[in-house]
Structure formats: structure tokens, C-alpha cells
Symmetry: C2
Subunit: 340 residues, 2 copies
């Protein structure tokens, strides 16, 4: 089983000394993760929250590209309806060149009502804008010939995007999906899936199997590394810390419920509305307890877990890499699994 | 006198091995410049040229921010009509945080007919789009309170841009100007000026004096470091190299004439249409000859020269820093000058 980081939270206000300290701490944290054997870091993008959330993820990743050499760098996600697809393609291609092909291109449609309002974009246009932007983004990244685009939202005449990304025809695409038909669609398109942090262990295992079967059905070599399971992580050292971690988890679940209160109908994540007692999705506990929970996922065919680490400290990464990482064993190679 | 670099040329196709080699060479070149005592690097942004020009300058600068610690990092320029002003503000603020306040914010309206056509933006809207974008960009960077914007081209509701840039209220603004009224306007607004590479020595000296006087008239401490004089640089070691350099210069002058053939009427640069014989703008020659030409500029009050270096080699930077840089003496402190 391999592990990445997922999030990017309050980089700005994380440190009382100001925005730059929060960024510096976060950058060091990603460098620590590379050193300690983590596979990837996927950064969230949000806008206008007022709590110091990361807004320009592709710029931060460009900086981190220079400070790292092995860890994969991803977005989770770039919200396409906010962006000019061609300028975005130029940024992504440049980043892919700068990090020498380590970029993972997580894209999404957006779900926060507040953000649509702030950008003065009707939420009802989200899917259509996403579709047009996504198609144009891929074409911009992969075409080495000039082309024109005249769509509903964007027009370009005789363009060619430079530089060419290192990863051809474009960096791997990652998309959030939850329902079986959504997961199967993304897999069948040859893209990668991000699963939510709220799905139970058994739901998550089921989804990964849906993903692998859909890959096989589409003639793609099934590979569970292309289905990232996001999980909240909170390593605790005492009962007091455990209580704090649970309280935090409840707040997170409430907040996700709040922020996604009016989700779009097209691809609703099947967020469990379960109470904390029945929440086996989060990785809260001692290293041993977390290892056991991860082993259940591994036994079900999960290969790739992306962690939203509550403490975001070097200490927690060290504990994870020393006391958890080496003890979780994948069940079997993903290809064998899907063939079963 | 202090020196920066200006350009960014064909980063992509500069190396026959592919785009990434061109970027790698260019990044090393900027790091060399920092090591050798250059003050700044201003990067050009262009789109869809098909010759490998730098497109995502803010991403490349974010990477370079991590590889450098002292050199100032600038755009020359970000063409505002292409960009969403608020997403641009987020990128700029993030970069300013990442480089710890070393960002110089060069902005422009665009002048290439081909680019306007490619973006499907009528050139007749350039000034209006520039104005709206510039105003909103500065407000986004400097406001720590939420605000709304409802303009002709952009609408935002209750937004606050994060992070806050290190340089408050915003990174220094640099704008190209050529005519006296244009230079005086920019100076009076408290911004910085970029002068073109084609103005003769005497025209350039006159413009710097216009800049300093306008600063003084606006109650701003006159400072010639805020008026960057761009110059083509080509150090030659033989008569054959000199002939090549002149040929190249003629091509450049033709190309600039071509690209700016239908410039906007509002702020035309007074590009000299002179033949190469009377062209004393370019710094072509031996180190001694270049030093003499720079001394003329220094004697006229020029303090800051931004070089477009034809060879873009470490060797040429070393020669410049050893044989030219130490020998050019500023006439007098800029403040004393303007008071005269």
C-alpha cells in the first residue's frame, strides 16, 4: 500500500505570525513527506474563504517542484469553471515541465455555493462549464498543431499551447467520484479516481472493485494505484487526544455537510450521514489501530491512500512512516485482483 | 548603476532536446545572474507563438523563487486583458509570499494583434479591459476586507483575496511608457516605468529626467532605480561576431516594427525608425565599448538598466559582471539630481 497527502488547508492563517509562515511550514511539511517515503501531495484549491486557504495551488506546486525531486505533485482539485482553460493548460504544462513529469491533474466542477456566488457564475452552469473547460484543457495540452475553439463560454482562434507537458499526451487526470456509474465512467475514460474521506471501509472497498472492473471492461490494465482513497488521519497518543480527535472529526463531518448542503445533482458523493460511533472511515487512533484499519482496506484491494493529516506535523509523518507504513500489506497485485 | 535581466525568449525551443531543457537552461541562467550580482530578472509573457515562448511566467517565477534568495523577480509584462484579475491577484500574492517580497509586478495592455485575435478579444477593448483589470487587481491585492466588483467585463461578489502579499499594499507596479505625458502619469501615480530598448541614449536620458521630475512634482522622493531602461546586450569578441550582432539587431528592429505595426493609439512607444548606423540604443561591442555607452547613460542620470542578453550564456554574464559592471559609475544620487 502506498500513501500520499491530501489537502493544503489553512496555509495562510496556520501560523499567527502571518501568511508567509504558514506557507513556509506547509512547504517544509511536503518536503518532509518526500523524505519519509510518501508517494504524493495533492493540494486543494479554494477561494475567498477568509480563513487563509490555499488559492493559487499551481503556483505553490511550482515552488514545491523546485524543493523536491521524487514526490508526485497533484491538485485536488482545480475547479475548472473558475479558470480560463487555455491559460490553465499553459500553467499546467509549465508546471509539468518544471517538476519533470510529476504532476497529477486533479480536476473538479466545484460544489461550494459560496464560491459560485463569489465568481458570479450560476451553479446551474457548473456542469456545462466544466465539460467545455475539460475538453479544451485536454486538447490544449495534447495538440501540437494549431486549432480553434468556439464554444458556449470560450473562444480561441488558431492557438497552440506551449510548452508541451512532459507527460504525453497530458498529465494523468484525477476526478472525484462516488456513485458506481460515476466511478465506472471515469475508469472507462482512462482517468483516475479520487474517493471521498467519508465512505465507510466496506463502501470504499466496493468502489475500488467497481473501478478495477470498469478498467478491465474498457481494456485498461486494472491498477488500484489509479484509485486514490482519501482518509482523515489523526494519530493520538492519549485518551484526551482521542477525544479531541473525535470532536474534530464531528466538526469536519458537519462542515462537509454544510458546505455541500446543496450539491449538484449530477454526481453527488454518497457522503455517509452516520454518527461518529459508526464512522470507520477516519483513521483516528494509535498507530496500531490505524494500521489495523488500513489493513482492512488493503485486504479489500485498496492500494493507494491519500491522507488529510489533522496535525500536519513532521512528528506525525515520522510516526506514520515508521510505525504504520511498513506494516500494511497489500492483498495481491491489482491486476490479479481484477482478473479474479 | 545596477543591472537586471529582461526577457525570457524562447525557453521552450531554445534547446533541440525539447522544452524541458530550454527551461532548465533558462533557470540556471537566472541563478547565475543572482550569483554574479544582478539585481533582477523580468520575464516576458507571450502566448501561442509556436516558437516556444514563455507563457506561464508566474509559474516559472514561483519555481525560480525557490532556487534563489536575493534577486528580484519581475514580469515584463503580465498582459492584463488576458487574465481574470482576481485569479491573477491570487497568483501574484502567492508568488510574493513564496519569494518573500521580491516580486516586481510589471503589467501591460498587450500590443500583438495575433494575440488579441487568438484570445478572440477585440483590440479596441484593450484599454478598457486593462483599466478594469488593473484597478481590480490592486484592490484584490490590497484589501483585507471583503468587497464586490461589478464592472463591464468582470463581476465578483463579496470576495477577499488570500494570501496577503508580503509587499504592502501590493508589489511595486512597473509599466512600459514612452511619451513624456505617459512617463509623467505613471511616475505621478507612484508606479515604476520600463523604458524601451530602442530609444537612443539622449532620448532615454530625457525620459528618465521626465520621470524624476514627475516624481518630485507628485511629492514622491525621486528615485531613478524606479525607472528601468531596457537595452539589448551583445558582447562581441571579434569583428565577425560584431557583424553577426548587428545583423541580429536589424532583425530585432524589423520584428519589433512588424509586431507593433498597428499599435494602439493611446500610448505609442516612440520607437526610433532609425537605421542601424545611428542606433546607439543597443549595447553591442566589446566590454570597453559597452562600458562607455553605459557610462553615457549613467552620466545622464540612468541608474537601472535591464538587459536583453542575446547569448543568454553564463559566460556573457561573467564577462559583464567582471569587465563592465564595476566600471560604470552613477553620476550622483537620484535625489540630488532631481533637486537640481
Amino acid at each position: 500500500m502506498r500513501f500520499g497527502l491530501f489537502g493544503g488547508g489553512k496555509v495562510g492563517s496556520a501560523n499567527p505570525l502571518g501568511d508567509s509562515y504558514g506557507y513556509r511550514d506547509f512547504i517544509r511539511y511536503i518536503c518532509d513527506a518526500e523524505e519519509l517515503g510518501f508517494e504524493s501531495a495533492f493540494l486543494v484549491e479554494h477561494h475567498f474563504t477568509g480563513v487563509g486557504q490555499l488559492s493559487a495551488s499551481l503556483n505553490l506546486l511550482s515552488y514545491i517542484a523546485a524543493k523536491t525531486s521524487r514526490i508526485r505533485l497533484g491538485t485536488a482539485v482545480v475547479v475548472l469553471p473558475w479558470h480560463n482553460p487555455v491559460l490553465l493548460a499553459e500553467q499546467i504544462a509549465t508546471l509539468d515541465v518544471l517538476c519533470e513529469g510529476r504532476f497529477d491533474m486533479g480536476v473538479g466542477r466545484g460544489y461550494r455555493k459560496e464560491e459560485f456566488q463569489a465568481f458570479c457564475i450560476p451553479m446551474s452552469e457548473a456542469q456545462e462549464r466544466y465539460n467545455e473547460c475539460f475538453e479544451l484543457l485536454l486538447k490544449s495540452l495534447s495538440s501540437r498543431e494549431r486549432f480553434s475553439h468556439h464554444g458556449k463560454y470560450w473562444n480561441f482562434e488558431s492557438i497552440v499551447v506551449e510548452p508541451a507537458p512532459i507527460q504525453q499526451p497530458h498529465p494523468p487526470v484525477w476526478m472525484a467520484a462516488g456513485r458506481p456509474e460515476g466511478i465506472a465512467y471515469v475508469a472507462g475514460q482512462g482517468h483516475n479516481v479520487l474517493l471521498d474521506q467519508i465512505g465507510s471501509v466496506s463502501d470504499t472497498i466496493e468502489r475500488v472493485q467497481v473501478f478495477l472492473k470498469a478498467q478491465a471492461a474498457a481494456g485498461i490494465v486494472p491498477d488500484a494505484m489509479r484509485c486514490g482513497v482519501t482518509r482523515a488521519l489523526h494519530i493520538v497518543n492519549s485518551e484526551a487526544e482521542r477525544r479531541q480527535a473525535y470532536a474534530r472529526r464531528i466538526e469536519t463531518l458537519k462542515k462537509i455537510g454544510e458546505l455541500a448542503k446543496k450539491p449538484l445533482n449530477l454526481e453527488p458523493a454518497t457522503f455517509a450521514d452516520a454518527g461518529i460511533a459508526s464512522d470507520d472511515a477516519a483513521l483516528i487512533g494509535t498507530p496500531e489501530e490505524i494500521g489495523e484499519r488500513l489493513q482492512k482496506l488493503a485486504d479489500g484491494g485498496v492500494e493507494y491512500v491519500l491522507l488529510t493529516n489533522a496535525t500536519a506535523s513532521r512528528e506525525s509523518l515520522v510516526t506514520f512512516s515508521e510505525k504504520i507504513m511498513p506494516h500494511v500489506r497489500s492483498r495481491a497485485p491489482a491486476v490479479a485482483l481484477a482478473a479474479a
